[in-house]
Subunit: 324 residues, 2 copies
């Protein structure tokens, strides 16, 4: 059955029962707006959009994969503020010939990530479109803590990372290269990324001075933290070697440089944070560098004090070439 | 200059300065998430998506028109809960060959609506896409009042409406029919709808028992209120005659029935509410009907006690035919 075979209300009637209610939900789907609790008098909000043939391909991703990915990337942004995710709203624009099961799969993927966390999917909007476009807006609760911004890192801080590095890029490269029997864990890291969401509030409690979600590659996102804070981030190659070693076999199969994936690959959705040097790092953060004073003659991010050897991340528009 | 001529950061650098800060904004754009104030410990949230060639055409709408429309339709949903709008986040997916000025126009259109209200545009996401897709998530503050749901109307209540009826549909029909010298006020009602946003909180203060935004046509949205409340809505034709008369000339020019626009036309973004009979209606609400007990043998919505003579509203998917 295709989307075009149902009215909008019939399609909604299949989607809404799949959506988790959420612990902070006072009024859920079905009215003009949802009502959410904000017990500390503030809330965080972030939004992201995933577009077919830019961010995903239907040949590779199921609807459930897409729903999981859309949820994770937004919840990671909430966690990167030090907040606990509470609720999502979702816009879904799909072609009329898309299978209804595929759309219901998106809802199930969202629920797979959100339900165990008590995160509600509390509203949305459906439309037709020539390609699948999923927009998610995520909300979170700071639980009385100050938000952890990108701008608070100070020289002497330890730079630490929680999550994986380069695995999503490796999975994408294996799919893109049509490699036979690709490492299923790497393919899954691309199709269904996970993020150490609890590490965000843990970092805030531990006194993190700056934090962000690594969505566009370690170098590029570290550069954002460095510029926002007016500092330089110096990464330690030795601390990244384990991530690189894990990807050597996959890199060999597609003729890639595993360092490029670890330093430049996007969409891993780990958390990068700076901590005062005397703070024990909360699990699962591990130190990967240090914050040093900004130097106008050096890059914002260095590796062992020297410029890094791969370009930073990727861009949606440059040259008009989609990279995803 | 086209979008593809800029990097994502360069495009953002042109958009972000156009966006209003907002009275409730604690942390604005530039971090992983924004932080908003929720002084009463709750907030309302709603989301909508506008897709090129479904909801608008670039041949008719400027970027600024689209931004205004995207803001208004979401703020109307906030107002329909009885809440005061506080902030938006926006996703924007656009083709690489779109003019940068057109995208900046969207930001200016959002700002045109939001800035005078103290509503911030506090975050967003950019992507490429084959057509323009704008997703807006709007937030609002209930200021200590209970949200006004669709489900509270009781027999004996007065049904009242604030805003215009059928004018957006008339404007669309004039454009669609390529009528020479179309009434500019009607065309503007379609391209740049306005909503009586202050009427939402005013209705809540006055004791409205149910309310919703009229986005899919009066009959269809009144039917939603009726079903959610377990009642029937009986509209008074005499109270709608003024709206019909205003549209007679436009209807004559395109061979349409002005009653179809008033009863079935979407996207006017007025507010439909039920009030106890003894409550003075707050400005600019006017009575257009009454709430009567549900009758399993009658329609959810009647006009002068009889079934209405046009079909209800429009649907995004039915038959696969876009109606916008």
């Amino acid at each position: 059955m295709r989307v075009a075979d149902l009215t909008e209300e019939e399609l909604l009637a299949r989607i809404v029962p799949e959506l988790p209610g959420g612990d902070a939900t006072l009024v859920g789907p079905g009215d003009d707006a949802a009502v959410l609790a904000a017990p500390d008098g503030r809330y965080v909000v972030t939004t992201d959009v995933l577009v077919e043939d830019r961010h995903f391909r239907r040949a590779w991703s199921s609807g459930a994969d897409l729903g999981r990915r859309a949820a994770v990337q937004n919840l990671a942004d909430v966690a990167a503020m030090g907040a606990v995710p509470t609720a999502l709203v979702v816009t879904l624009a799909v072609p009329g010939d898309l299978a209804v099961d595929w759309v219901v799969g998106i809802a199930r993927g969202l629920a797979h990530v959100c339900a165990p966390l008590g995160v509600g999917v509390v509203g949305g909007d459906l439309s037709g479109a020539p390609v699948v476009v999923v927009g998610v807006t995520a909300h979170g609760d700071l639980a009385g803590r100050a938000p952890v911004l990108r701008s608070g890192a100070r020289p002497g801080d330890v730079v630490a990372h929680a999550g994986v590095l380069g695995r999503s890029a490796a999975g994408l490269a294996l799919l893109d290269g049509s490699v036979a029997d690709p490492d299923p864990a790497l393919v899954a890291a691309y199709l269904r990324p996970s993020s150490p969401l609890a590490a965000g509030p843990a970092a805030a409690r531990a006194g993190a001075t700056a934090m962000l979600d690594v969505s566009d590659g370690l170098l590029r996102d570290a550069g954002r933290l460095a510029r926002a804070s007016g500092v330089r981030v110096d990464l330690a190659a030795s601390a990244l070697g384990g991530s690189v070693d894990e990807l050597r076999e996959a890199a060999r199969r597609v003729g890639a440089d595993p360092w490029a994936w670890v330093l430049g690959g996007g969409e891993d959705h780990g958390l990068l944070a700076a901590f005062p040097a005397d703070v024990p790092l909360p699990d699962p953060f591990r130190a990967i560098g240090t914050v040093v004073p900004a130097d106008p003659t050096a890059a914002d991010v260095t590796v062992d004090g020297a410029p890094a050897r791969v370009g930073p991340g990727w861009d949606h528009f440059a040259g008009g070439q989609p990279r995803r």
